[in-house]
Symmetry: C2
Subunit: 465 residues, 2 copies
């Protein structure tokens, strides 16, 4: 393990954490950090540091880091900005290798003292060999350990999974974190980089490429001073794990705002787009698309070609999928003869039986619907499937039967689904479907677009260096 990687590994898997600025006052971020750690079932030991308290959250508090005799792996710092340089020196004295520096007020502020303060801590950290996530970050979360080293306890309710998110913005991390919960996407790490004192996107990508619980790397970027290291890290990892990037700052105003927010100009959007393409980073255009596509990449095989079958329980949603799939580079070809014959045998001549298939007339008979999916799944001239079924009383059984069948018949074809019903009706079936490797989406368009992004990613990979 490289030295830098080892320090990051310790930040995500610490045995002992000191919370410098821990508090039992709910008006302080130091309180919420303590809550995140304790409620998030962190299995290691926590050392609250606060000179004014004997006990915080039922744990013995220490007046300073110097008083802790145990070896500390990670310091989470929530002190006022001007106290941070001293805190770094105290960490150095205790040879603490990693820090999550939540404190804001560095180069992101109007006052130029912020910039100077950041330069000061950067120098101190370098001398001490401390890796710092932040400053101006909400923190980091590792769902697999688990450790929620952030001021937001709610991150602990994200399911454990294989998507890791690295974000330049704490606000976007929160938005995306809540969407992980809402869309049932499993996460490995959630990281807010903030002002990137000495840990930037490139180091995180390098680390996550080696991280066994990360399968997909999703990035949210605003602007970085020097994009080359990131591009280089992505090129090094090319073909190992997919990287997606959502880059804000397309407009003049947000580009300007980026300078204030993170101290970095967002820079020409087109330049980033080109660099992303070169490094096979899949560029996306919205929060939803970032997570929808990360979900697909974490669950599905890539389609081997661009031939898609659209199977829907009602014709309308199927047509909508055709629109998105064709626009996204798929063809919707006729089935091979033998397969078409099977479909014809199963479906009465009351609907569209060629690709796209309207399975509607087989509604009452989930087994027949299953037979159609089974036939198409075997067609060697089809590379991917979109399956859409909108709930209606008559097809209640469809989701369960199809979900079970698809789980038991894993395939090399990429499959995405839109099973849609009011909350509580198909929740378990949809969960089972996703556990079987088929991502489900709230609308047919989002299902189809995620599939087209799998194809886009495959094409990016093929272009090669």
């Amino acid at each position: 393990m490289k030295e830098g990687t080892r320090a990051l590994h310790t930040i995500f898997n610490p045995d002992r954490i000191a919370v410098v600025g821990a508090s039992d006052n709910p008006g302080k971020l130091g309180y919420h950090v303590m809550k995140s750690l304790t409620q998030g079932k962190y299995p290691g030991r926590i050392f609250p540091i606060n000179p004014g308290r004997k006990e915080i959250f039922g744990l013995k508090a220490f007046p300073s880091l110097a008083q802790v005799s145990e070896k500390i792996d990670l310091a989470i710092v929530v002190l006022p900005a001007e106290m941070v340089p001293q805190a770094i020196q105290e960490c150095e004295a205790r040879t603490i290798p990693g820090m999550v520096l939540i404190t804001a007020g560095f180069k992101e502020i109007e006052d130029r003292r912020g910039k100077m303060l950041q330069e000061e801590i950067q120098t101190l950290a370098e001398r001490a060999g401390i890796r710092i996530i932040g400053p101006n970050t909400f923190g980091v979360v590792n769902l697999h350990y688990p450790v929620n080293a952030s001021f937001t306890p709610e991150f602990s309710s994200i399911e454990k999974g294989t998507v890791s998110l690295v974000s330049q913005s704490g606000g976007m991390s929160h938005l995306l974190g809540f969407l992980f919960i809402e869309e049932r996407i499993g996460a490995s790490k959630i990281v807010g980089l903030g002002n990137r004192c000495n840990v930037d996107f490139s180091e995180m990508v390098e680390y996550l490429m080696d991280d066994p619980t990360t399968r997909v790397i999703a990035l949210y970027l605003e602007g970085i001073d020097e994009p080359r290291p990131l591009i280089e890290a992505a090129r090094q990892g090319r073909g190992r794990k997919p990287i997606l990037a959502y880059k804000a700052g397309r407009s003049m105003t947000s580009d300007k705002a980026s300078l204030f927010h993170t101290g970095s100009l967002a820079g020409k959007h087109e330049i980033y787009e080109g660099a992303f393409r070169q490094a096979a980073i899949l560029s996306v255009g919205s929060s939803e698309e970032l997570l929808d596509s990360a979900k697909a990449l974490s669950l599905c095989p890539l389609p081997k070609g661009n031939r898609v079958a659209v199977l829907s329980g009602q014709a309308g949603p199927g047509m909508v999928c055709c629109d998105v799939c064709e626009t996204g580079g798929f063809t919707i070809p006729p089935f091979s003869q033998e397969i078409q014959k099977k479909v014809d045998r199963l479906l009465p001549p009351l609907a569209i039986r060629t690709n796209p298939v309207d399975m509607g007339p087989a509604w009452y008979d989930a087994e027949t619907t299953k037979g159609i999916v089974e036939a198409v799944l075997r067609d060697p001239e089809i590379d991917a499937l979109v399956i859409c079924v909108m709930f209606a009383s008559a097809n209640r059984a469809a989701a369960g039967v199809l979900s079970e069948f698809l789980r038991e018949n894993r395939t090399e074809k990429a499959i995405v689904a839109c099973f849609s019903a009011p909350h509580g009706i198909w929740d378990l079936e949809i969960k089972a479907l996703e556990q079987g490797g088929i991502p489900n989406y709230p609308t047919p368009e989002r299902a189809a677009r995620s599939l087209t992004n799998l194809l886009r990613y495959r094409k990016l990979m093929e272009k090669g260096d």
Copy 2:
């Protein structure tokens, strides 16, 4: 009231409904129609028609329509296709003015007998003066009466409101219906037109233009043989109520599928786009955009100009909004001097204080956040606002304070919001916000895009005839 309008009015507000083909067997659609009516709290009287039963759902059943002595306003027909011509004649004998014909198997099927059967019932209905919704429809729902004349009881859980949806596809009606529930959008009518025997989009638009509980008309179209009557109806209603249209069939394959599904070719997408523009119909590109924009149009005033203020609790989501707003035709200008001074007094110099504003440093103090919103709301050089706040423990109070303030200070500016939190945290605050006329969206991009669609609609209206 015009004759045609009167018949439609009766279909949506019937005193007495006959369910021809009612059933107590859950394997039959006639069962689910009975369930929708009874569970949906229909206040009128229901007459189940079934020659084999004395009682259905605890209601006296009749062997045929002829045996019912009361005047019937609406017949919901769920018989096999070949029995429909006779049913129409029986309705004629009882002078029933309206029918919801759920039965499929007409011009949408492969077999040409379907087409012939549809021609036959069309002739019979014309002679009898009966308005038919369908055939091949899931039904109609009027949330205000209420009457759920469909085979899907779940439609009754949509909130009562002012958006009416007219859809050519039952599947898309279900998808969109469930999204109404999920996104807390209030509906007036939900109508599945199916094969449009003698009620088409144009009649529905005419009717809804006069319907007092409808404020916004949302259309989902695949293909219609003759779009001119719809365009004419929209032009007639121009300026009275906004119409939005989501048209599927952009791709070759879905265009072909449309012919099978509804018996009508979807037709060149560009032709529709041009016609929509002429008639000031706002064209949208996805299910989500259709409902997001309908929600904004139902709640917000139109922006008087294109100057937007972006206020966010965290800089990242604000930047994302700027991207979408600028792309959509808004400018994000500096505040007027006096307003900027107020903002500067309220916010410490730790963040972006010009437009877009990062209200983050005022997090702990919801009153200060309110002060900033209040100041910007008064800026005469601002036409619209986007407000984004991602939940974090430290800003829990923000949603409540802002929601209350905005409700009590209604304004002529268009305001959209993205308050995002895990389920259960801000649900009540978000509901209150929307009751105050400010639509909330799950992502900053969707909030901003809905605002840009308000601007697009305003520009469409300005072009004028």
